[in-house]
């Protein structure tokens, strides 16, 4: 284990930011922390890296965080803003100069895809490019454990994928990564294990697929029937196929429909003479887990679906 935390607790006055969090990270693996704003992700990152006080036990590379050899860890804090009026190259030279042994600045710039922006002032880079410089700063000492607090915030989709590929290469070489993110696709793609933090507690931990199977619910098919169709009649027509059908306005949601069973639903609708405008199928994903375990206020408007969705049919 490169990181082991047992019963970590952190309070700020009367507010409990972390309430008995335990987790472990194996060498060469990626551990992603997800959770709502204010769940305690950044406090946990700070506890793990020794930049805040905490109760409980933490071993970072075999030592308490404040005694860990700083040469071996690379941290990108949340909302990190490096010294101003320096170029990307100068920033990496600066942070590299703080270590006894640092990587070649040119190599780090190439890794984060900024070789052609080396002599551009940090302030003149785009938000995504700035964040990539910050990731480069965390990499400059060639750390064994990389701790990244929201590393891809502000980076465009192509830039995010570049960074994912970089993290893939690093972990393949044995680097361990702990990161926080609000992007569920990022956690699902990168992480070997995911920890879902809510109200200071780790409410679920495990490989993404395992969490999805446990908490993500079943796949579902949504049918938007035509305006002049009696939705209740349509529901009766397809009830025998799915394991549960809900109707909201013109939308029928059928739980537990496999891709193979979509044809059966269409046949049943045709047989009953039900016309429909749109049909979509959604597989449970990490976002389903996130929503299932963190949504407690039913008055909140529903979060947008961003999981894997197949637009099966759009009919006139």
């Amino acid at each position: 284990m490169v990181l082991n935390a047992e019963n970590v607790r952190r309070e700020y006055g009367d507010t409990v930011a972390l309430d008995g969090v335990s987790l472990s990270v194996e060498q060469g693996s990626v551990f992603a922390l997800i959770g709502p704003n204010g769940a305690g992700k950044t406090t946990l990152i700070r506890s793990l890296t020794g930049t805040t006080e905490y109760e409980g036990e933490i071993e970072l590379l075999g030592e308490p965080p404040k005694r860990t050899d700083t040469q071996r860890i690379g941290l990108l804090p949340q909302s990190f803003d490096p010294p101003e009026r320096l170029t990307a190259r100068e920033l990496l030279e600066y942070y590299g100069g703080l270590y006894d042994d640092a990587r070649s600045v040119a190599d780090v710039l190439a890794d984060v895809g900024l070789g052609d922006k080396a002599d551009t002032w940090y302030e003149s880079l785009s938000g995504g490019q700035q964040r990539r410089v910050c990731v480069g700063i965390a990499l400059v000492n060639d750390p064994e454990l990389l701790v990244l607090d929201e590393p891809t915030t502000g980076i465009d989709p192509a830039g995010r994928r570049d960074l994912w590929r970089l993290l893939d290469r690093l972990t393949a070489d044995g680097t361990s990564v702990v990161l926080t993110t609000h992007y569920m696709d990022e956690a699902e793609y990168l992480a070997d294990r995911v920890g879902l933090l809510a109200d200071g507690s780790l409410v679920a931990t495990g490989p993404p697929q395992q969490l999805i199977e446990e908490y993500g619910g079943r796949s579902r098919l949504e049918v938007e029937v035509a305006e002049d169709v009696d939705a209740a009649a349509a529901q009766r027509a397809i009830e025998p196929i799915g394991t549960g059908v809900d109707t909201t306005g013109r939308t029928l949601t059928i739980q537990g429909v496999t891709p193979r069973a979509i044809g059966d639903v269409l046949d049943a609708l045709d047989h009953a003479g039900v016309e429909y405008d749109a049909l979509s199928w959604r597989q449970p994903d990490l976002e389903s887990v996130y929503l299932a375990l963190t949504e407690t206020d039913t008055d909140d408007p529903p979060a947008p679906d961003t999981g894997e969705r197949a637009e099966v049919l759009q009919s006139g």
């Binding site: 805040t52 010294p83 009026r85 942070y95 703080l98």
Partner: protein, 249 residues
């Protein structure tokens, strides 16, 4: 060797970051020039008339130097600490080998360099504009360096305590202004009430002013005692400033 490498990296970055902020550079040098032009050239000294500016022009050299030795490091280091806190830079630095003492030492070196240049300009300007007769003693070097370092330590303290850059600026002005005028710089002790005069010894800037005055006007021997006190105070303020620098949230 490692510490030297770290301090060099921090010093280089801090220096580059400063000299590229043109406005900051301009006003760092322009502020004392304005003071000299106002008091040295416009108001001028009136040695026989009593009251303010009744001393020979050379008497006010420590005051002109104090403008940069006091204000610049206090506000610059204070603001730098505040900016570092706002950008979570100390959180990052806490996970690097750079210690708080090394950080403060690096920023002190940058300030000593910048204010050393500003002091040379001030001395040249004072001699030219006010016809002050001063001795260019080597003792000016340690006095300026120690004075700058002392107020870098105080600036680090302010930056660590104040909640924002605005807070640092307000606090540094509130502290610096009375210090500038109540430290035997521009106002002689005889112009102050007798009961207040012992309080002059509480200002670190008084030892700077007395020492610089002794070094430039004589007797030089009087400078050494003040240099010793300034040296001790500098170590205390630098130590306190380094300890106060944030290492955690």
């Amino acid at each position: 060797m490692s510490a030297t490498r770290r301090i060099r990296a921090e010093t280089t970055a801090a220096f580059q970051s400063f000299v590229r902020r043109r406005t900051a550079v301009f006003f760092t040098f322009f502020f004392p020039v304005i003071i000299i032009l106002i008091f040295g050239a416009l108001v001028q000294t009136q040695p026989t008339s009593g009251g303010l500016f009744a001393q020979p022009p050379a008497y006010y050299v420590p005051g002109y130097l104090a403008v940069v030795v006091l204000f610049t490091p206090l506000s610059r280091v204070g603001s730098t600490v505040a900016r570092h806190r706002e950008g979570n830079r100390f959180e990052k630095l806490a996970t690097t080998p750079l210690s708080r003492v090394e950080w403060l030492l690096a920023h002190t070196l940058v300030n000593v360099g910048i204010i050393g240049v500003a002091s040379l300009i001030i001395l040249a300007l004072v001699v030219t504009v006010t016809d002050a007769t001063i001795a260019l003693s080597w003792l000016l070097v340690p006095f300026i360096a120690l004075g700058v370092a002392l107020f870098c330590g105080l600036g680090a303290l302010l930056g660590s305590v104040a909640g924002s850059q605005d807070g640092v600026i307000a606090a540094s002005n509130t502290i610096a202004l009375p210090l500038l005028f109540l430290s035997e710089t521009f106002i002689t002790p005889s112009l102050l009430p007798a009961w207040f005069r012992p309080a002059l010894d509480l200002s670190p800037l008084s030892y700077f002013a007395r020492g610089v005055r002794a070094a430039t006007m004589g007797p030089t021997a009087d400078a050494y005692g003040n240099l010793l006190v300034l040296c001790v105070l500098t170590l205390l303020f630098l130590g306190a400033g380094a300890i106060a620098l944030p290492q955690t949230d």
